[in-house]
């Protein structure tokens, strides 16, 4: 019987057609908890800096956590980790849906994919066994069709799949991995890593038992959390609108990414908002595995030119990406843009950045229509948006320039456009403007996978609870989004909460944004669920350890303090007049960075983890590796 953990990893060597099972011991599981933790430690050990992300030496790690597959609300998640072909540093992306639990029921905590298949294939894992099957017939199929075909040919509707779309097969650097239609591990080009291994999909079916060491106690803890969730002030809006609530709320704060961050206020936000969507398109709520906060939505467009378009979602990042960020005011156009990305298997954040970047260059006269295949990419022109998505997917014409991400595009275009590329460490940033949310700005600047908000989600800065700010982070200012003091500590704290969520493989809605469980409750849960003993301090330490492994990994790839920065616009161009309270804001990053490194006990000047910190976290092997390479 498996209790929380299966204590087992599956290693698939595609080049040599070898499939073997590896035992995961107690020490490794306790030190790295699950999912993201297991993956990043293995990535550090098995994929050194010499490895080209698109070579056969790169490896893909797929990890689930101890809570995955249990009754814990939203513990449905799974992490995909590899060296990123998009950023050349840590590639790591996480998705919900139903795949994670299925991996657990198939008997594994982790799946490792290495080498390269000799032809397009898919991996079928069932109840502890795996086989490689041909996917020649799935070539160039979109993500929806691929998922459908695999279920059909395996004759089991309960098979869960992770697939790539044509964008990945065509070599787009920011192609993702898609599950349950639209659930995407979209960031850092994990889809392309699978494509480089000739893997079109992973199909999983599990019917093995999974239990809790103390079932009654575990059930009691879950019932208590269910109650807390139902009584939470965010519960109602999250089930109604999910993340799309952010369009109107960020717009009100003047920090909704609009026309490529030229402003933080979108005049047509109410036409593309989550509320508008709910009223006109939503048919019902949808949820991930065993989740009591069904924040996703099934929708259908019933008339007009997109009649018959039905899907799940969208999430905030896609909806804002194809509305405010590109200046499109028609929500149906935005929904169609998101749908194209989902079907082709593209990351909506990066795609919308590449397109809005092109629009700004065109608006400023830096790029001419001839250079963009005769297109006229004005802000708001949705036809051009769709056209560019198509070109990116096929890597044709100007799409080929955009298909490596915004940094490479700016390098190819030259003319000082790098300054306008909205990325950190090669990863394009999300749909909120850091100038109006300083803590998020810091979080994005230091995120270990590059410009991404989901590594920290320091929502506390919205709380406006000065007393709590003083109590928790030493400064009342830390509770206010436009203030700076204490943000280093806030980001550190929430980074570790995000690690906890990504290791237990529970949703950040519950663990980070709603702060449903504390480290103490996490320990209680794991102690009733698993065969091992955890203390809250140990779990906290593990979260810090994992952050340090990630930092060590990117430091080994050459990242230093100078790379922990934000695009020029956020540091130097104040938000314009119409952004209300946020108007006039830039991000004064350096003092926050100082505070952050101090909180992390890293070297302030370089951002390098220190020998003593690594030792304290029992990371001596990594410490010695960095010393041997003369990094620390």
């Amino acid at each position: 019987m498996n209790y929380g953990y299966c204590n087992k990893a599956l290693r698939i060597d595609l080049s040599n057609n070898l499939i073997k099972k590896e035992k995961l011991d107690e020490e490794f599981l306790k030190k790295y908890l699950g999912g993201r933790g297991l993956n990043v430690r293995r990535l550090y050990d098995e994929v050194p800096p010499e490895v080209d992300p698109l070579s056969t030496e790169n490896k893909m790690f797929i990890g689930v956590g101890p809570l995955t597959g249990t009754l814990f609300p939203g513990a449905a998640r799974v992490n995909f980790t590899a060296k990123s072909p998009q950023t050349k540093i840590l590639g790591d992306s996480n998705t919900g849906g139903f795949l994670g639990p299925e991996i657990k029921f198939a008997g594994f905590d982790q799946i490792i994919i290495e080498g390269k298949a000799d032809q397009l294939s898919y991996i079928y894992i069932k109840d502890g066994e795996a086989e490689i099957k041909s996917a020649q017939h799935l070539k160039q199929l979109d993500t929806f069709e691929t998922q459908k075909k695999i279920k059909e040919e395996l004759g089991d509707n309960r098979v869960q799949t992770a697939v790539i779309g044509p964008a990945a097969e065509n070599g787009v650097k920011y192609s993702g991995i898609f599950c349950n239609m639209v659930r995407a591990a979209a960031r850092t080009g994990m889809g392309l890593v699978l494509a480089s291994k000739n893997i079109k999909a992973i199909a999983v079916r599990g019917t093995k038992d999974l239990s809790a060491r103390k079932p009654d106690k575990f059930k009691q803890l879950i019932d208590k959390m269910d109650e807390e969730i139902k009584n939470h002030s965010e519960y109602e809006i999250r089930t109604r609108l999910g993340t799309t609530q952010l369009i109107s709320s960020l717009n009100e704060l003047g920090c909704l990414a609009t026309r490529h961050f030229q402003t933080g206020y979108f005049e047509d936000a109410d036409k593309v908002s989550g509320e508008y969507f709910e009223e006109n398109y939503k048919q019902k709520e949808k949820g991930c595995f065993a989740c009591t906060i069904p924040c996703s939505r099934y929708f259908e467009i019933t008339k007009g030119k997109y009649k018959g378009l039905k899907s799940e979602g969208p999430e905030f990042e896609g909806l804002a990406g194809f509305s405010s960020r590109v200046g499109v005011s028609d929500i149906e156009d935005a929904l169609y843009g998101v749908d194209l990305c989902n079907r082709y298997g593209l990351d909506v954040i990066t795609t919308s950045e590449c397109i809005s970047f092109t629009m700004e260059l065109y608006e400023k006269g830096i790029l001419t229509s001839e250079e963009i295949d005769g297109l006229k990419p004005e802000f708001g022109n949705s036809e051009v948006v769709f056209n560019l998505i198509e070109k990116i997917k096929n890597r044709e014409g100007f799409g080929d320039i955009l298909a490596d991400g915004v940094v490479t595009a700016a390098e190819k275009i030259g003319r000082g456009t790098k300054k306008l590329a909205m990325h950190v460490k090669g990863l394009e940033i999300f749909q909120a403007d850091p100038r109006g949310i300083k803590g998020y700005g810091l979080g994005v600047a230091v995120a270990t996978r590059g410009g991404d908000h989901l590594r920290s989600e320091p929502w506390f800065e919205f709380s406006e609870d000065a007393e709590e700010g003083k109590r928790r982070f030493g400064h009342p200012e830390s509770a206010f989004r436009l203030e700076y003091k204490g943000k280093g500590r806030v980001v550190k704290y929430y980074e570790e909460r995000c690690v906890l969520a990504d290791c237990l493989e529970a949703c950040k809605n519950t663990v980070v944004n709603m702060e449903i469980i504390s480290f103490k409750e996490a320990a209680e849960l794991l102690n009733t669920l698993t065969e091992y003993r955890f203390t809250p301090e140990e779990i906290k330490k593990s979260a810090e350890r994992i952050m340090n492994v990630e930092r060590a990994y990117i430091v080994r790839e050459g990242i230093r303090r100078k790379d922990d920065t934000l695009p020029d616009r956020f540091l130097n161009e104040p938000l314009p007049e119409e952004c209300g309270v946020s108007a006039g804001s830039v991000v004064e990053l350096e003092p926050m960075l100082d505070e952050y490194y101090k909180a992390r006990e890293w070297e302030v000047n370089t951002g390098l983890p220190t020998e003593s910190k690594l030792s304290e976290l029992s990371l001596d092997k990594i410490m010695l590796d960095l010393k041997k390479r003369e990094i620390i």
Binding site: F144, A212, G287, A290, P294
Partner: protein, 241 residues
């Protein structure tokens, strides 16, 4: 043969005839009588028609649903006028007190189901201490592309065709909750009950023992964990979004 009184008991929608609560007519033998000043909707009457002779007759079939099924709804989905058919005591002409309280069972609304499968997970866990959905007595069938999520679960039918179909008497009713109970030692896994089930609600575990909802002895875990009202524990019919 009974005489009948058919009363408008409640109106959940909007009836533009209009029928009003308390409107009634009587049936005596082959004769319909509508009281002076009252009227009766043609379409509602049309749909009630086949039931009237059945309600008039005295039937003594085992598990017969006719005696205690009293409420019928007008076919107009906007109207939702609910008619109650009372059998009248031949001596007094007053309605017979034969209302049987139907014990609550699990009611399903697929339109509200999020497809999360929390119900499956909790059902399996409370019955077997495993989260494995294979052990669940409720099953969610999903079609992600069409957005369909359909819960399959025992409706605890009055006439329980599964009980009748079982060749070894492994199925019985719980005296406490009226739930259908499976005697695991008797069940031979012959699939007869599943074939008889009109709701496709019966599956088998790996020991070939039938899995049928036992209403958790009255403390229905799946309903408690359902985040929407896709599952309800109720004794009413009908489904509302």
């Amino acid at each position: 043969m009974y005489d009948l009184k058919i009363v408008v008991e409640s109106i959940e929608g909007f009836c533009d005839l209009p029928m009003e609560i308390g409107d009634y007519f009587t049936v005596s033998g082959g004769k319909i009588e509508i009281p002076e000043g009252k009227h009766m909707c043609l379409w509602a009457l049309q749909s009630l028609m086949p039931v009237l002779p059945a309600k008039q007759r005295e039937l003594n079939e085992e598990n017969d649903w006719i005696p205690h099924t009293k409420r019928f709804i007008c076919p107009d989905p906007n109207g939702r006028v609910i008619f109650r058919i009372d059998r009248l005591d031949p001596k007094t002409g007053k309605p017979l007190e034969e209302e049987i309280e139907i014990p609550p069972r699990i009611l399903v609304n697929p339109d509200a189901c999020t497809g999360c499968r929390a119900c499956e997970t909790v059902c399996a866990f409370v019955h077997t201490q495993s989260f494995n959905a294979l052990r669940s007595r409720i099953k969610i069938e999903k079609n992600e592309i069409k957005g369909e999520d359909i819960p399959y679960i025992c409706r605890q039918c009055g006439d329980a065709p599964c009980i009748k179909a079982c060749p070894v008497e492994a199925l019985s009713r719980s005296p406490k909750t009226n739930a259908i109970l499976v005697d695991e030692d008797k069940c031979i896994g012959c699939n007869k009950c599943a074939e008889a089930c009109p709701f496709d609600a019966i599956s088998f575990n790996e020991n070939n023992v039938a899995l049928i909802c036992d209403l958790c002895d009255g403390d229905v875990e799946c309903v408690q964990r359902c985040p929407t009202d896709a599952l309800k524990f109720d004794n009413k019919g009908g489904r509302k979004k």
